[in-house]
């Protein structure tokens, strides 16, 4: 066995197989490209924006697209639409990641503990989760924001919290299946404790459904935060948040269509990207869905 061969095996990662499947999957790749694009835009927004997204220019307000040097026109206060949309991408990506992180961390922990210990713990936790699920989702989010006070950060927290039940159910289901596996018994017989078994043996084996849920969840979170901002409970003016942009320009839908339409299209595209990737991931990670 030569050094090179050993190295080759060392580098052989189980993810490489998934990456191969991903590249073959057109749906997922489309989603991935869209997401990558939005992320790049988000990162480089200050560099690629032609203007300051907050700078008002009353003289040129409601300029139509492709006129006066404005590629996508200006809004009702004369701010450059393109720059605002580019900065909006940054905000939306951050919203998606933060709110999903909140629900992912707490939801996974709850689901894991509930499924692992089972019995009375499971019963109590799951009934609490049922209570949360009994509230209409958007209503729950609104209530939380109302309690915390309207701001972009609080909107993310609210979306994160109200998504917890979904994650804990997904995690609980797969932990219930995994914890009966032979390797869990084997590791217990070798002296592994509860925490070790939960986080080091079982959780890594449940990553497939979790990652699908998280990817789809980012899309949902972006959409929800746009909705909250539209209702005035999320981002506050003059933040270039897409939902807020739609809300503050809805009365111009007949006179200056571009002010409402472009943020809508941007939201749609980004959510579409995450949904496509999520669906693709599900196909790849769940062999039963493969054709």
């Amino acid at each position: 066995m030569s050094e090179a061969q050993i190295k080759e095996i060392k580098n052989e990662n189980p993810l490489s197989e998934h990456w191969y499947q991903l590249r073959k999957n057109k749906t997922a790749m489309t989603g991935l490209v869209i997401i990558a694009l939005f992320i790049l835009i988000g990162i480089f927004a200050p560099l690629i924006s032609p203007m300051d997204p907050l700078e008002q220019n009353i003289e040129f307000r409601k300029t139509a697209p492709l006129t006066g040097g404005y590629l996508l026109g200006t809004d009702d206060l004369g701010r450059d639409m393109l720059s605002r949309l580019l900065y909006g991408a940054r905000i939306s990506m951050i919203i998606g990641v933060i709110s999903v992180s909140i629900s992912l961390v707490f939801g996974s922990a709850i689901g894991l503990i509930s499924a692992y210990y089972g019995g009375i713990v499971d019963k109590i936790v799951m009934r609490l989760i049922d209570i949360m699920l009994a509230f209409p989702y958007i209503l729950l989010t609104i209530v939380i924001v109302a309690v915390l006070g309207p701001s972009l950060m609080n909107a993310m927290v609210a979306i994160g919290i109200s998504q917890i039940p979904r994650y804990s159910r997904v995690v609980r289901a797969s932990v219930l299946a995994e914890k009966e596996s032979d390797y869990v018994l084997a590791e217990r017989a070798l002296g592994a404790g509860d925490l070790e078994l939960m986080f080091k043996s079982i959780l890594p084996n449940c990553l497939a459904p979790i990652s699908v849920q998280a990817t789809l969840g980012i899309g949902t979170a972006i959409l929800d935060s746009a909705a909250l901002s539209f209702l005035g409970l999320g981002a506050q003016p003059p933040t270039p948040e897409w939902g807020l942009m739609i809300a503050s320009s809805k009365e111009f839908i007949t006179s200056a269509w571009w002010i409402v339409t472009f943020p809508g299209i941007a939201t749609l595209l980004s959510v579409l990207g995450f949904n496509l990737l999520g669906d693709g991931l599900r196909d790849i990670l769940d062999p039963r869905m493969r054709d």
């Binding site: 066995m1 189980p14 084997a186 990553l207």
Partner: protein, 334 residues
Amino acid sequence: MENNILLSMEGINVHFHTRRGIVKAVRDLDLQIREGETLALVGESGCGKSVTAHTINRLIPMPPGVIESGKVVFRGEDILKMSEKEIQALRGTQISMIFQEPMTSLNPVFKVGDQLADVFMTHQGMKKKEAFAKAVELLDMVKIPVPEERAHSYPHQLSGGMRQRAMIAMALASPNPGLMIADEPTTALDVTIQAQILDLLTDLKDRVNMSLLLITHDMGVVAETADRVIVMYAGRKVEEGSVYQIFEDPSHPYTLGLLNSLPSNRKYQGATRLEAIHGNVPDLLTLGDGCPFRNRCEYGDESCDRSFPGATVKDEGHSLWCHYADRVKKDKDK
């Protein structure tokens, strides 16, 4: 050294509370394992072999399982009285276990070497690098070819035999192994690999001076590896003796039936059909207190229905539990 008792179980009763009633999986079991010895626990599926094994390192799922009574004394301490922490410290260091299904007993998402190193890190507080080197060393000890390469493999990249070797390596990751419980270690492997794994187990047992509790339903495996044998039927011990006593002078009707149904038995030369024990394994829910084998036994009668017999000692170390031990013997001698 030979006669030092490493583990002794006394009066073990294990029940499972199910929806249909109480299943008495192990009843009044006594068992002793001496240091350096291989004890085989033989019996058909569902006779309580694995439950007995899981009682030793307290892996019985509770609920529904309950260890109703008994003592499990290991190196002078009663395991059943230990705290969860104490038994956890014992598992994988002094009592380790390998399982029937090597295909599924390794965690699929981690490299074999990392899993093995993990055991060293947990039990001996080693650093990652040192532990990994130890892991490679152990893989070499269980005769996995090119261990430094295999340590970097994921379980699905190994064959069944290699995975079982890796499992054995994990069970050996201790400076002071006392007892290795092998729960049907070769059932899922093909015959040539079976022989290799059994050789490996016996060889390692002598090298690190540990005892082996071998659970199996394969009389061939027993003959090849065991020093002493306990035959179990439906939760009860029915015969116990050295491997020679059991094979040369089987005395319980069930043991006789088991050995008679082996194709390698001398009397089958030229015969076309194998002999079978007629009937089915009894339902543990409705068994009652009599001899569990009574309905399948040619000697079974009312006294077998009423009570389970006491021990009949045949020779030193050779006992059986049958009301008609004398008659069985006479018939056999005819």
